[in-house]
Amino acid sequence: MAAKANTHPNGMVLNRRKIRWRRIIPMYLMALPGIIYLICNNYIPMFGIIIAFKKLNVVQGFFGSDWCGFDNFKFLFRSDTAFTIIRNTVMYNVVFIVLGTCISIGAAILLNEVRSKFASRIYQSLILLPYLMSWVVVSYLVYAIMANDTGLINAMLRAAGKETINWYQTKKYWPFILTFCHIWKGTGYSMIIYLSSIVGLSQDYFEAARIDGATKWQQIKKITIPLLKPTIITMFILSVGRIFASDFGLFYQVPKNSGALYEVTQTIDVYVYNALMQRSDYGMSSAASVFQSIVGFILVITANKIVSKYSAENALF
């Protein structure tokens, strides 16, 4: 913008700036409460990061407590669990991002093609419904299906004369179960975001395509998806930032914190909870979240760099 402005005569630039400010100031004023909220809620508490490097003493206070270097971080890397929990956290998130995006977009496109307004509303609500449920409720739904004696699947297996499966003690099924639960619960929400972008696409493109005789599939592939690209990329970068954090409810409540499943269900958040539940050590818990935030921050920056390399106009910043 600035470069463009420079090509104009000087007076012109000044004039333009003035006009722009006059239009922008009310916008900023309106945003002010939001900005204040953001600062109070997200930036001021950042000083709490120092707790991660301190041996907290409530009498000396946050600032007066003794520094302890990286001592608080040590428990994260004490044993071989460190590898497992980092692997689980990252791998599940990668799967969730890829699969979640594909399925949400698919659902959004399909829903957009439903012509009856009434039916489309019903479907949308049905798909969104699980998102509104608490993980505790979900965990009981899963339990109703997988419980040993009374569970749906085992009852069916028994009726068919097959060997029953002790689900909560058998690791190999859980990556699939957790992924399914996540997608089932989360799709509705991201689908709505994609759906609103699709609805906002100009109908002219589709009309033109239809006149040219494009099939539905061709329209989707050649028009909808390319036009959705900015939304997809934004959503992608946002979720990459969370790649080092995990949904505690999903990984703690749904497998019912079964020790036998830890190898495939324990993520960083669950580990921190289990390790510090009895000790309630503020220093160590903030160390864990500082670690998560820093890795998350690096990942967002990297993802954004990569995106800006390939399509600069879609990068976040």
Binding site: C40, F75, R78, A260, Q278
Partner: protein, 507 residues
């Protein structure tokens, strides 16, 4: 689109304003009772602030004001937030004098320096506490110094298995309340029960995700900490003071094998390792025989009430005592307290012969409760809800009994005055060989805190599944033990031994 953005902005603004006003509503306690020192005292609640709090506070001050020259402000805190809110109050410089240490032990508070040393105060003003608590004061020590005053009515605990009386009768089995039974005795009962009732009926109800039955079957001295920080395997009763890992021991291996065996035979349900219902709730369902618990006489009526069946205890461990039994409910004085003398005097006064512990626990007589029968000592009585009052609308009734001398505190119907006789008998009949030699020693895990956290995560992973017999111990036990070693268990145990030796040398 414009409209939408505007709405979003307005909503954000409203939210921001909401947060601002919400944080401005903090209540400030008032001080204006002449020269009285104001004591702010944490009051653990089950969530809602009792409606009769102000009346109780007024009645309390009417008594302690002239007596001690203090004015007490009761500061209700929900049980779940007790630790975080109290440490926050202290660290942010808010006034808080009496800290309620509930279930956590003083360790977490001390690692942040939130509590004051009480040795001198105890020596100077602690006569009533000494008379009321006796050896239980051991629970409040840490690193050889006194930091908290326990409020404990039972000086010893016995453990065992509670079984449904109707089923025992049906099976024609009876157990002597004073005898101690073994694994095999329990197994015989389980086998008989299982044979009679068959599939779908189980013997042991247990919230096993977090529990460990081993300590219900063997005396284990946890040295004022947890089972994961190293223990004395003989409970400190046999004179052996070698700190060991409970989980590496042979006895634990046998126990694991036994639990697996029981699970295989269907005594323990296959989902036990993930069941989150309380064991009393499970027994209410009618599909369980009973559960492990501590088995002092008052527990019989408690269990019977909670389970909905009459329950009979089958003892597996005779009454004995160790430091951790006295750590359940304690009072500490915050490190920022301006007048520790006055505060301690008030604390001591709660333990003296008077009725303020009843007042703090049950509220005002005639308002929230009425007396059914009075006992020998001041405060000892059987009570019931006052007319028109019940559990739901009572203006003041603290479910958590944390105040003063609990051997002279009222009990609710249907309990009787026998309760006091039971307490007295239990407390006066502990032979010396049933008292751990480490009474008063509490392990300070701060020097090895990262190892301790890592180890406690490992224990969290395996001990529930071993208690539930969910997996073959031949496979999981070696895994469990390796994981403990890798997490630094040995360093914790060495540190614990070092501290214990130093403590023993001082005794």
């Amino acid at each position: 689109m414009k409209m939408k953005k505007l709405t979003a902005l307005l909503l954000t603004a409203a939210l921001a304003l909401g947060t601002l006003t919400a944080s401005g509503q903090e209540e400030t306690p008032q001080t204006d009772e002449g020269d009285y020192y104001e004591i702010v005292m944490a009051v653990p609640t089950l969530g809602a602030e009792p409606s009769g709090l102000a009346d109780v506070e007024a009645a309390l001050n009417a008594e302690v004001g002239p007596e001690l020259g203090v004015k007490v402000t009761m500061y209700p805190i929900s049980l779940a937030d007790l630790y975080s809110q109290q440490t926050l109050l202290v660290s942010s410089g808010d006034k808080l004098d009496l800290i309620s240490v509930f279930f956590s032990g003083v360790g977490p508070y001390l690692s942040m320096g939130a509590l004051m040393e009480l040795d001198d105060l105890y020596a100077a003003y602690g006569a009533d506490i000494k008379a009321a608590e006796g050896i239980a004061v051991a629970g409040g020590y840490y690193n050889g110094k006194l930091y908290a005053i326990p409020s404990e009515e039972k000086l010893a605990r016995s453990y065992g298995f509670f079984a449904r009386a109707d089923i025992l009768q049906e099976l024609n089995m009876s157990y002597d309340a004073n005898a101690v039974y073994s694994y095999d005795d329990l197994e015989a009962l389980f086998a008989a029960y299982k044979e009679k009732y068959g599939d779908g009926y189980y013997c042991i109800a247990g919230n096993t995700a977090t529990s460990d039955f081993y300590t219900y079957l063997h005396e284990v001295d946890v040295l004022g900490g947890g089972t994961s920080d190293g223990v004395l395997m003989d409970g400190g009763l046999g004179g052996n003071t070698t700190v060991e890992s409970m989980y590496q021991s042979e006895a634990y291996g046998d126990y694991a094998q036994r639990m697996y065996d029981w699970a295989q035979k269907g005594y323990i349900p296959a989902d036990a390792a993930t069941n989150t219902d309380t064991n009393t709730l499970q027994i209410q369902s009618g599909y369980y025989l009973g559960c492990f618990s501590s088995t002092e006489t008052d527990m019989i009526s408690n269990m019977s009430r909670d389970c909905g069946y009459e329950m009979v205890p089958i003892n597996t461990i005779a009454p004995w005592c160790q430091t951790s039994m006295y750590q359940t409910t304690m009072w500490g004085i915050s490190a920022t307290c301006e007048n520790p003398e006055k505060t301690f005097q008030f604390l001591n006064y709660m333990y003296a012969d008077n009725t303020i512990d009843n007042l703090l626990t049950y509220g005002l007589e005639g308002v929230s409760y009425e007396v059914v029968e009075k006992g020998e000592k001041d405060g000892q009585m059987v009570i019931r809800y006052a007319d028109g009052v019940d559990a739901a609308n009572t203006p003041y009734n603290m479910a958590m009994h944390v105040y003063g001398d609990k051997t002279t505190i009222a009990v609710f119907e249907p309990m009787t005055l026998d309760y006091y006789t039971m307490c007295e008998q239990l407390n006066n009949s502990i032979p010396d060989n049933r008292k751990s030699v480490t009474l008063g020693y509490v392990f300070d895990s701060t020097p090895v805190s990262s190892q301790a956290s890592a180890v406690s995560a490992v224990v969290q992973q395996y001990c529930g599944l071993i208690a539930a017999g969910a997996q073959n111990p031949d496979v999981v036990l070696p895994e469990f033990r390796d994981a403990l070693k890798a997490a630094g268990e040995d360093e914790i145990i060495a540190e614990n031994q070092k501290q214990l030796d130093a403590w023993l040398a001082q005794q």
